[in-house]
């Protein structure tokens, strides 16, 4: 079926020489608020931020809080089907933000998982914010781990902490951050709680030259581990610029058709592949 999915064209425009010029309102309140919400029109931007997460974790609320848009946010899974895009400016630097469909995994079982995965894998956003539901961490972590296997440029927004508090659930943010190797920020996006910290973390990850390496999950099966290692070496030899060779190797061992196609046409290796066949 020729499903016209949005193409994950997270290509960049050339970096503007003076990004500060894009933010007129910053001049009015220079340090009080460094955030300028740019709504649907990101203008010129230097960084691309992807927003991933399970359905109904408040991704759209975070998106609205950052962009100043008022997309209706429903309390149910699957409200955001297509990608929504918007922009904001923080500290005088423009960011384009892409709200991905909510998915439980990146294993490509359905069209929306494909969209999310293609954007992360081929669009190579500067920062991927994974919004997780603090009240159901165990169900949200598989996606976080999968994103972490693809990239180290990740910020985890531990959302709905207000709800978690009400339910008597506390999450050890520092422990989680240590284990995942990326910043974890507690937020309650509905009330704007934690957004300054989230923005600071986004800025830090977007500007770092030395992001953490993609997560290596060790499989306690020597046979599988050996196969992954062998194949990962070959993937690395074929696509030297690819950061997440182990993850790609795992997908190839599973026979993932989307990844196989990307290997075949070489798009896996393109650093700035702006056009990628939509449904893998």
């Amino acid at each position: 079926m020729a499903t016209p999915l949005p193409t994950p064209g997270v290509g960049r425009t050339p970096e503007p020489p003076d990004a500060g010029g894009a933010c007129a309102s910053c001049a009015l309140a220079p340090e009080a608020t460094r955030l300028a919400r740019l709504g649907l029109d990101p203008g010129r931007y230097s960084h691309v931020v992807a927003l991933a997460g399970n359905p109904n974790t408040g991704k759209s609320t975070v998106f609205n809080a950052l962009t100043g848009l008022r997309q209706h946010v429903g309390n149910w899974a699957g409200k955001t089907v297509a990608r929504a895009e918007g922009g904001f400016s923080y500290g005088g630097v423009g960011y384009r933000i892409v709200d991905l469909p909510g998915t439980y995994s990146l294993l490509s079982a359905s069209a929306d998982e494909d969209v999310a995965r293609d954007v992360l894998l081929f669009g190579r956003p500067d920062v991927t914010v994974v919004v997780v539901d603090a009240t159901r961490l165990e169900r949200n972590l598989p996606l976080v781990l999968q994103v972490r296997q693809i990239t180290g440029r990740v910020v985890v927004a531990l959302n709905l902490v207000d709800e978690a508090r009400r339910h008597g659930i506390t999450v050890d943010v520092r422990h989680l951050a240590r284990e995942l190797g990326v910043p974890v920020v507690a937020t309650a996006a509905r009330r704007g709680e934690g957004l300054p910290d989230l923005l600071a973390a986004i800025e830090q990850v977007a500007t770092t030259d030395d992001p953490p390496a993609p997560l290596r999950l060790v499989h306690h099966d020597p046979e599988l581990e050996r196969a992954v290692a062998t194949l990962a070496d070959q993937v690395a030899a074929r696509f030297p610029s690819l950061p997440n060779t182990r993850w790609v190797a795992l997908r190839l061992l599973e026979g993932d058709p989307g990844i196989e196609a990307a290997v075949r046409d070489g798009s896996l290796g393109d650093q700035a592949a702006p056009t990628v066949g939509a449904a893998g």
């Binding site: 149910w76 165990e138 061992l253």
Partner: protein, 469 residues
């Protein structure tokens, strides 16, 4: 050279057990569970979650779930109907009666030619003012209430309740979610079917989405229910009966959705049902002020703007067909006469069918179009100029005009309610269906099937009622 890599992968895969994919996923989930266990401290979590569980026990109960569903929707419509009456009258007096008179005086003062005044004031302005007066109050009440239910987390429970029925109809359980989206806007509902993976089940969801009453159609139903159905009982009960009539059409819509899904999955779209898991979100206390604000901005004004944008040119078209004469009668009269026999068979009339032709771009303007056309054609009797709406005081007077000038009966109103549910999607939705399916054939099916159903059901109702006298 890239195929070497794939061959190597295939070779290595052969050396591994068949369920390698499952093992990889399993290992991922094991890691996730371990990480969650070491990071989360649940202190007294159980006590709070029991409230959710207790609520769910009622709201998703096999019997009580449906009862609660009926009561909640009924309450929403009752509030809408009862609450909209007074502001609607006020807007009517302000925009339609006074505003129209002022504009007429103004145009007369500057000496505008009669046809300019007719086209702009009697056509464009009156249709627009009408749409605002009739639609704004009920929408401003209905949408926030519906959104509050949604934010509370109730809609997924409705989906959960209906899930079993959809499975039995051979459709995907997620169709109940796309149906919920359709209650806002069918075009959005059709787009939402992307969450359904199988093409077969997705097509079923696309074709049946039109049976969810959309924003544009709620006002027609609410108005018909109020004017005609509510009017046959004593005034004290009118609000309840009117709300009941609207709920009945909604339930009919769910029934038709299931029946058509069942028929499609037994015939042209045969296949296995997919299994999926539906996650019930926690109940969240809605943030009332914010919900009011966003639903008024996002939904009410958006729908109203669309209605006004459509109503303005439609008003001009109505004035033109009412005033341009071919031979001995106006274009409108010719069209209404031609459509009359079909209308009679369906228990409707030629005016209603012509209104549906004029209002193809937006269902929102059906009622204003019908009233304007009725008055235009019945003009000599009612003593108004052609193409000009009488200055009607309130809903009851609309009813009076439709009865006396248009010859409406309760049957006409009930069949209009049915036809509101069962007719072709608006042109935006048709375009969306084409965009999503990329198939002229399925777009045609999705467009014509509801229309054919509407014809059959309306004609049957009319036939039975007439046979019974």
């Amino acid at each position: 050279m890239s195929t070497d890599l794939l061959e190597e992968a295939a070779r290595l895969r052969r050396g591994l057990p068949d369920d390698v994919g499952d093992r990889i996923v399993e290992s991922l989930y094991t890691d996730a569970t371990r990480l969650a266990e070491t990071s989360v401290d649940r202190d007294g979590a159980a006590s709070r979650l029991t409230v959710d569980r207790a609520l769910d026990r009622v709201l998703t109960h096999r019997v009580w779930g449906f009862v609660a569903m009926g009561v909640l929707f009924f309450a929403v419509f009752w509030f809408t109907i009862a609450g909209a009456a007074v502001p609607s009258d006020l807007l009517y007096v302000l925009l339609v009666e006074n505003g129209h008179a002022w504009l007429l005086d103004g145009f007369a003062a500057v000496g505008a030619p009669w046809w300019v005044t007719g086209l702009l004031v009697d056509g464009v302005y009156l249709a627009t003012a009408w749409v605002i007066a009739v639609m704004l109050p009920p929408m401003a009440i209905f949408f926030p209430l519906f959104t509050l239910l949604e934010d509370f987390g109730y809609l997924p429970r409705v989906a959960f309740n209906l899930d079993r029925l959809f499975a039995r109809a051979g459709a995907h359980g997620k169709q109940s979610l796309t149906m919920m989206m359709g209650y806002g806007c069918n075009a959005a509902g059709v787009t939402a079917t992307r969450i359904i993976d199988s093409r077969r089940e997705r097509l079923i969801a696309v074709i049946t989405n039109n049976f969810s009453i959309c924003n544009g159609r709620w006002p027609t139903l609410i108005l018909m229910g109020t004017i005609f159905v509510g009017a046959v009982v004593p005034p004290a009960l009118a609000g309840f009966v009117a709300a009941g009539a609207v709920v009945a059409v909604v339930i009919l819509g769910i029934g038709v959705t299931l029946a058509v899904s069942w028929a499609l999955s037994r015939t042209v779209l045969r296949g296995e049902s997919s299994v999926y898991s539906l996650e019930l979100p926690p109940y969240r206390p809605p943030r009332i002020l914010r919900t009011l604000w966003t639903s008024i901005i996002d939904r009410t004004l958006k729908v109203l703007r669309r209605a006004v944008v459509m109503a303005a040119p439609a008003g001009a078209v109505i004035w033109l067909v009412g005033n341009v004469h071919l031979g001995d009668a106006s274009v409108a009269a010719h069209l209404v006469t031609a459509l009359g026999p079909i209308g009679w068979v369906m228990g409707l009339n030629g005016v209603i069918l012509l209104a549906y032709l004029v209002a193809v771009p937006a269902n929102e303007i059906i009622i204003p179009t019908i009233v304007m056309l009725t008055l235009t054609l019945g003009a000599p009797a009612a003593g108004a100029a052609p193409g000009v709406m009488l200055e009607l005081g309130d809903d009851a007077q609309i009813g009076t005009v439709l009865v006396t000038t248009g010859g409406w009966t309760l049957l006409t109103a009930v069949n209009l309610m049915i036809f509101t549910l069962l007719h072709h999607p608006c042109s935006t939705t048709v375009l969306t269906i084409w965009h999503e399916t990329r198939s002229v054939r399925w777009t045609a099916v999705a467009t014509l099937l509801p229309l054919a159903l509407g014809f059959v059901v309306c004609a049957s109702v009319a036939g039975v009622v007439r046979a019974l006298g």
